[in-house]
Symmetry: C2
Subunit: 354 residues, 2 copies
């Protein structure tokens, strides 16, 4: 089958590899499934490797978001059946360990990530490919009722990562009815965080964005205000918009030192920063600033698997439309162009069709 | 009157100063009160200056916790009356600004701290003295119903800071019914944090303590377990006590780099650290650790004024007994010995009687 590999800085290739197969002879045998990928996509975090911010010492398969149709299941799989349309979160989890039960399946004690070996459950293919072997299929995959219409595919795919991750930013920041919110980052996650903040009841949502097309989408998703300024200027404007003290909640959806600094210094005393931007090096969190402001910080690898059941009905009935963050669709064979488009910010998020 | 001054490293003196008086001719005139101090005390944070960790370039009045009897009130004071027994939080606040209303009166937009000038409200004396001028008296002071019995004084005084600060650690860590909790620090605040965790419904509370007398008090306050080990060893034991993943909540009540490191690495994935130890220099918070564990961090200068009304009834009916953290009482004139006793850890907390 065809699978996307990152060979080095700005070097994306679609290579031929052996098709994945159900694995026997391992401890977790019988608990896997083979899924034919209907749609995958490129993540903002994939760009850290693509841009060389994170080194790529040897070629590695890439991609961690996909939806597809189950082709085979192991003998111990009971929830997922051949022919089901499924959403995969961006990680593998068993759904039954303490961390999964606590709502943090992204820290599953028996789980792992696409493109690597998962504990005693064998290899999990990366997602930008034609087929994926899913270890711990019953815990990992969410079955979509029926066969979704073609135009629902992007929104369903967003539940793999960006919609759940934006939701995690909002949940981590404690967004609730009446909250005032600022969202830093106008990438796919930041835009989904706006959707999340609105559905959780925020009454005022400021999108920090400098791009006209993204500003427009932010407003359609629920942003009530747009602030293009950054750094000290952006902070001053934000403070001023909220009685001089700042918003209750700030959702940090970028991962740079500057964006976190803006988040920490924007929230009102006693406010909360929810952060989901993968930290791209840079500074640690200034404890004196936090202590002196009582601004809390919470976030990390989003437990999107725990959120899919909550969000799926609203995706299916169209009341939230996170699929709109996909503004370019390409065949898997053109993955290199997909990466270029995102790197050059010509696209918010690119959907790939095997 | 007599007032305690820190003159330099390990140099505490009780000096004569002019009695404070109601101030006229300032913007906030008429809103102050003069309180005769019935009891004050020494705080763990006072030791940073005493030990020279924080420099003392010139002598400064010290102390920020007191209870007393109102002797005079300004013309605009309405809630507080002459003769009232009052508790002062460790800061001045108006009770009516946005931060106060949001529950964070320690960040009052018009407030300040004892021993310094408070915005447009004039000078606030430090608390280790015979009398204190209280700016913004209606916002700052809490009136205790009736005249409390002598044996209630220590518990009431604890509401000035340590009991409310321990409560803030527990609230910031999200302690609730069924929570599992570890408390780092067996000083007065850590011990009060145990009281707070228990009354908020925690079912298992681990006191990290190496001192037999403090371990005993911790157990009386509600600790179910005691762990004397620190650092990596303490973390491993804590993880092991809670199914290998760690407790839900960790209350950091010390303020050193080591104690925060222990807190961050002990909490379970998705857990929460509540921190109230005044940061004593040292490292910033490691963002990769937080991101990789989804452990939240929240805390800071405790809004104890907002908590007094909630905690006072339980102090008055004896259902919580935070006054027991005072294990030494001295006349104000012997303040130097009070500091020595706390510095040498001969006393948990020293009460001073003017």
């Amino acid at each position: 089958m065809r699978q996307v590999f990152l060979h080095g800085e700005r070097d994306i290739r679609v290579d031929d590899v052996v098709d994945p197969a159900l694995e026997n002879g391992i401890e977790a045998a019988g608990r896997d499934a083979i899924v034919r990928v209907v749609a995958a996509c490129v993540c903002g975090s994939d760009l850290w490797g693509y841009r060389g911010v994170k080194p790529t010492p040897k070629p590695r398969p890439i991609g961690h978001e996909f939806v597809g149709i189950v082709e085979e299941v192991g003998s111990a799989v009971s929830r997922v059946r051949v022919g089901d349309f499924v959403i995969a979160p961006f990680y593998v989890c068993d759904g039954s360990c303490l961390n999964c039960i606590n709502g943090f399946s992204s820290h599953c004690l028996n789980g792992g990530f696409w493109g690597s070996k998962v504990h005693d459950a064998g290899y999990a293919n990366a997602a930008q490919s034609e087929r994926v072997r899913v270890p711990l299929a019953d815990g990992t995959l969410v079955v979509v009722p029926g066969q979704p219409a073609e135009n629902m595919i992007p929104a369903l795919l967003s539940l793999s990562d960006v919609m759940g991750t934006g939701h995690h930013a909002a949940v981590s920041a404690g967004v609730g009815p009446g909250s005032t919110v600022a969202v830093i980052g106008d990438g796919a996650v930041g835009l989904c965080a706006i959707i999340a903040a609105k559905r959780l009841g925020a009454t005022r949502i400021v999108a920090m964005s400098r791009h006209a097309d993204r500003q427009a989408l932010a407003r359609e998703f629920g942003a009530t205000d747009v602030v293009p300024e950054r750094g000290d200027e952006g902070i001053a404007i934000l403070k001023n918009m909220f009685d001089g003290i700042g918003p209750d909640c700030v959702l940090e959806c970028v991962g740079t030192e500057e964006s976190m600094d803006t988040a920490l210094r924007s929230a009102r005393p006693g406010g909360q920063v929810g952060f989901v931007g993968v930290p791209a090096g840079g500074a640690e969190l200034p404890i004196d600033t936090l202590f002196g402001s009582n601004v809390g910080v919470r976030g990390g690898i989003a437990p999107v698997r725990n959120y899919i059941e909550e969000l799926l009905p609203e995706v299916l009935d169209g009341s939230i439309q996170p699929g709109r963050v996909f503004d370019l669709e390409l065949p898997l064979a053109e993955a290199a162009e997909a990466y270029r488009a995102m790197d050059e910010r010509r696209a918010i998020k690119v959907l790939l069709r095997p």
